[in-house]
Amino acid sequence: MSDAIVEVTHLSKVYMMGGEEIRAVDNIDLVITKGDFVSVMGPSGSGKTTLLNLIGCIDHPTGGAIRFEGQDVSELKETKLDRLRMSKIGFVFQGFNLMPILTALENVMFPMEMAGVPKKEQIKRATELLEWVGLPKRLHHKPRELSAGENQRVGIARALANNPAILLADEPTGNLDSKTTKEVGLLFRRVNSEYGMSIMLITHNEAVAEVASRSLKMRDGRII
């Protein structure tokens, strides 16, 4: 049995802009296996985020196929895609995208609550995760009361909440200073090594890319 988490074949995303055809993702083949840590680098507009969105099942390809744990996602209806994202994919965003009205603990509990995890278990796991990312004293702080680095740690803990098969991180250090960037990069390394979780991380930062076990470069929608 294959241990591929994500298998992408001849994947394309083409759209029209101002009468011009844009090939954001152009015939890409890629396999991310269990425990794989892939960084993707490339200039702006090279298609990195589009590729991540397609793999994250929040965008639809115009050609090719994505198999998630062997399942062709193009066959899945919207509610099944929602369930797939909830249980198998953890997103980490450049701007953290935390809910400002919720505390760090509640932000991490939120995906579990949506997945129907019992409340006690939510609290236990969210507390453990926040301690694990180094925020044991920040559980009851809201995002505005936390530093950028702390917010991103909460974002990573939230992405891990439902114990997904893969973390998809879109420039997670883009808003951080160099010291925090290094810390967050190492945190991803720990997620990969301690949880054995697959990670696909988009970055412009060479140092961050280096923490990955495999590094890809993209240009004009292709992996080069």
Binding site: I58, T79, D82, R85, M86, G95, N97, I101, P111, A115
Partner: protein, 392 residues
């Protein structure tokens, strides 16, 4: 879900409070106006139920209408017709009670205008026991056959003019005093503004001896009431009209229904403003949260959950507004009732705040909440996740 919705509503407290206030004002108007209309209806129905006459005989000159139209025309007819009515061919008249009615200005009441006026009814001694059996005395007694210079006054009149049994009634008849012999218990209805005096005293005081403004008729067989009314009209059709109590009540009920329709129209406009108010607030609120909702969708939160969240927020806002609006409605109806008592001198109108009206207020709040929440909820739940994540 409810906890999250409540938290979302506290993001922008001032905006949420203003929205609640706007919708509460709309519901205050609706509940307040409905309470007033219901109060009027209740008061009228109660009075109609307690009156025992079957037919009113009214002057033709007044178009067969009851007061105040009757009074404004100053129309009267001969008291002598009473005997003719008693003896009509179809032999269905049980008794006839001649009445002389006039609204009298009594002078400024000490505390309010409520008791400035009295509807003075000159009647025969049998009128009150026979036709108003539900009226009870608070103090004193009713006037009897052969009594002169006596009067029984309604509770509102007595209260406003600070009158007691044994006092002289402010309306003097030349050369003779009118003594208050009885004060009626409050009914909360029209009756509280009425005073009853012997017919002849009133006629003398107003220089109308031998003339009456109306007559109340009871019948033996109620199945023949209409026929009897027609026969009474036929007696002196140039001067009088016989109208059944039901027929007259119907006219008033129609007028009250019109008033209710007008109140509902005003309330509908207020409610429409409420819907638009919260709709715009909700649209603004969800638009600000586009990125956040995109993030929720990326995390696998279903469209229907987002939809329910927004509807819940809208509903909570409207339910709080509904509760406040209902309380405001009670306050408004009390203020309007007070103002009517104070400035218009109408004592009988009591706003009714029934559980039904409260329920209607809350139901309307729920409807506003759902209606105003539907479009923003639908719009935001349909967002494209990728575009929403890019939203700044």
């Amino acid at each position: 879900m409810i906890k999250l919705a409540l938290r979302n509503l506290t993001r922008r407290r001032t905006r949420t409070l203003l929205t609640i206030l706007g919708v509460a004002v709309a519901i205050t108007f609706t509940v307040g106006l409905l309470s007033i209309t219901e109060g009027f209806m209740n008061s009228f129905n109660q009075t109609t139920r307690e009156r025992k006459e079957d037919i009113y005989v009214l002057p033709r000159q007044a178009g067969g209408s009851t007061s105040p139209l009757l009074e404004s025309t100053g129309a009267v007819f001969l008291q002598a017709y009473v005997n003719d009515i008693l003896n009509i061919d179809i032999d269905n008249v049980k008794a006839v009670y001649p009445i002389y009615t006039r609204t009298i200005y009594l002078g400024d009441a000490p505390d309010s205008m409520m008791g400035n006026f009295v509807v003075l009814n000159g009647v025969t001694p049998q009128f009150l026991p026979d036709l108003r059996p539900s009226l009870e005395l608070e103090d004193g007694e009713l006037f009897k056959e052969g009594d002169e210079g006596t009067i029984v006054v309604g509770a509102a009149v007595a209260k406003a003019q600070e009158l007691e049994v044994g006092d002289t009634f402010p309306l003097g008849v030349e050369g003779r005093e009118i003594k208050i012999v009885g004060i009626l218990k409050s009914t909360g209805g029209f009756e509280d503004m009425i005073a009853y005096a012997p017919l002849q005293d009133v006629q003398l005081a107003l220089n109308e001896l031998g003339r009456i403004t109306s007559a109340a008729v009871t019948v033996k067989d109620r199945n023949k009431t209409e026929e009897t009314a027609d026969a009474i009209t036929a007696l002196h059709s140039e001067d009088i009209v016989g109208r059944t109590t039901e027929e007259l009540a119907g006219v008033v009920r129609n007028l009250l229904s019109m008033a209710r329709a007008i109140h509902l129209s005003v309330a509908s406009i207020a409610l429409l403003i409420g819907v638009l108010f919260i709709l715009s607030t909700m649209l603004m609120a969800v638009s600000e949260r586009t990125k956040e909702i995109g993030t929720m969708r990326a995390m696998g939160v279903r469209r229907v959950t987002i939809f329910r969240l927004i509807i819940t927020e809208s509903l909570i806002t409207c339910l709080i507004a509904g509760g406040l609006g209902c309380l405001g409605g009670v306050g408004l109806s009390k203020v309007i009732t007070w103002a009517i008592h104070r400035f218009a001198g109408v004592a009988f109108l009591q706003a009714v705040v029934s559980p039904g009206i409260f329920g209607a207020g809350l139901l309307i709040a729920v409807l506003i909440g759902v209606l105003a929440g539907l479009y923003p909820a639908w719009r935001i739940s349909k967002i494209n996740i990728v575009e929403a994540l890019r939203y700044e």
